[in-house]
Amino acid sequence: MPLLKPIYEKYRDKGFEIVAVDYKHDTEGALKFIEEKDLPFVFLENGAEDEEVAFNIFGIQGFPTTYIIDREGKIMFYHRGFRAGNEAQMEEEIKILLEE
């Protein structure tokens, strides 16, 4: 996720946001990581066990899972997993959606 920070800073003024949902219900671990890496994104919790959005709405079992969503709220791109280098692909996709 720290690899996404430069992208965020580059496009945030053009109507771009990064929203990260913590899959694990680990508030302490999450906050520590966010602070250590100085991440400026919107961070949300996954919801209580019985109303987890990650599994119950999106059926997500693997992580990270990333959706890139256009201005109308449609999921245009999808990434299962993340490897260093994927951020370049994501930036291309974000650029396409911002320029429309």
């Binding site: 771009f16 949300l44 919790e45 059926g59 997500i60 969503i69 999921i75």
Partner: protein
């Protein structure tokens, strides 16, 4: 029963329990130590000796399958020495007594026969396994998937049918860990069994020439499956099998429909290749494919369902409040 007897029984049960826990701890420690030695060993032979030594001392444990898998990975997958791997597995089966562990080792053996496409041996093994215990869902699926890999369609069908018959709510509940027993997880697990077994059964049917039946089973599998939010079934290669069957029948539009969700949304090389193949078969050339794929993306792009959760400060946030922005929504796992 007098209270004293009950107390004595409870006490002895407690003693047995704590002895078992101690044994388990010692076993876990031995396994950890073995793993360290295994990592440290410099040659393949030295690594295999570490594994053999551990199995000789602890043949009947919960880690036996793992240890056998390390050896199989070294021999069959890194050196392509299937005979060596099979020999290793056979030597382990000579010392393993516990039925549960024997079956687990035989599952590894079945995967090796599948990899080497040794159909006769796979068939024999399936019968051997049934002598150890009544085959359960996982046993059936492992035999069947290797039968499919070896193009032994009848054997595959026999075991997929049995696996499908075993895909009941009760069976799923018995196999799920206690902290996973929410109704949603139970239903999800049940659908994943039915969806993946039927997908593979359909593939076996299509390949044995029973095409119409196969297509009907694919449709059933689709009704039973779990799906990723972006449109492809979660398990069992359903759309890959289905699309390939339709390609054979010359139904390229049908094949494109099945290959599209993965070809567009997953975007990995294999998925794109299948979609491109169907496009070329239909149009005679790959010209215009990228535009076609983009148009498909516009068609498949699904509106995100709204949800409301809290941030770490306890404030309620509704996802639709980001509408109008391009959003990268990431589900992550703090380590």
């Amino acid at each position: 029963m007098s209270r004293r007897v009950v107390t004595a029984l409870a006490l002895s049960a407690l003693l047995v329990l704590s002895a078992a826990t101690q044994d388990e701890e010692a076993y876990r420690d031995a396994y950890k130590k073995m793993y360290g030695d295994y990592r440290a060993a410099e040659t393949q032979d030295a690594k295999l000796d570490v594994l053999r030594g551990f199995l000789k001392r602890h043949p009947d444990g919960q880690y036996t399958r793992n240890v056998v898998s390390y050896a199989v990975r070294l021999l069959a997958y890194q050196q392509d020495n299937i005979d060596g791997a099979l020999e290793f597995v056979a030597s382990v089966l000579e010392i393993v007594k516990a039925p549960k562990v024997r079956i687990q080792v035989m599952q590894v053996q079945a995967d090796l026969y599948g990899k080497a496409c040794r159909g006769d041996e796979l068939q024999k093994l399936a019968m051997e396994m049934a002598k150890v215990r009544e085959l359960d869902y996982l046993d059936r699926v492992i035999i069947a998937r290797n039968a499919n890999a070896c193009e032994l369609w009848d054997l595959a069908l026999e075991h997929y049918d049995a696996a499908i018959a075993m895909s009941t709510r009760e069976a799923v509940v018995a196999d799920l860990p206690p902290d996973w027993q929410t109704e949603q997880r139970i239903q999800h697990s049940l659908r994943s069994r039915l969806g993946s077994s039927k997908a593979s059964k359909g593939w076996a049917l299509v390949n044995s020439g029973r095409v119409e039946e196969g297509l009907a089973v694919f449709r059933e599998a689709e009704r039973n499956s779990n799906f990723y939010y972006v449109g492809m079934p979660k398990y069992g290669n359903l759309y890959v099998y289905w699309g390939r069957a339709l390609m054979e029948l010359g139904d390229y539009d049908g094949a494109i429909e099945k290959f599209a969700p993965a070809g567009v949304m997953m975007g990995d090389e294999d998925s794109v290749m299948l979609l491109r193949g169907a496009y070329v078969a239909k149009n005679g050339s790959k010209a215009g494919f990228e535009q076609f794929r983009w148009d498909l993306r516009l068609k498949l792009a699904k509106p995100i369902e709204d949800f409301a959760v809290t941030d770490y400060q306890g404030r309620k946030v509704t996802f639709s409040s980001f509408k109008g922005k391009v959003v990268l929504l990431n589900f992550w796992y703090p380590t």
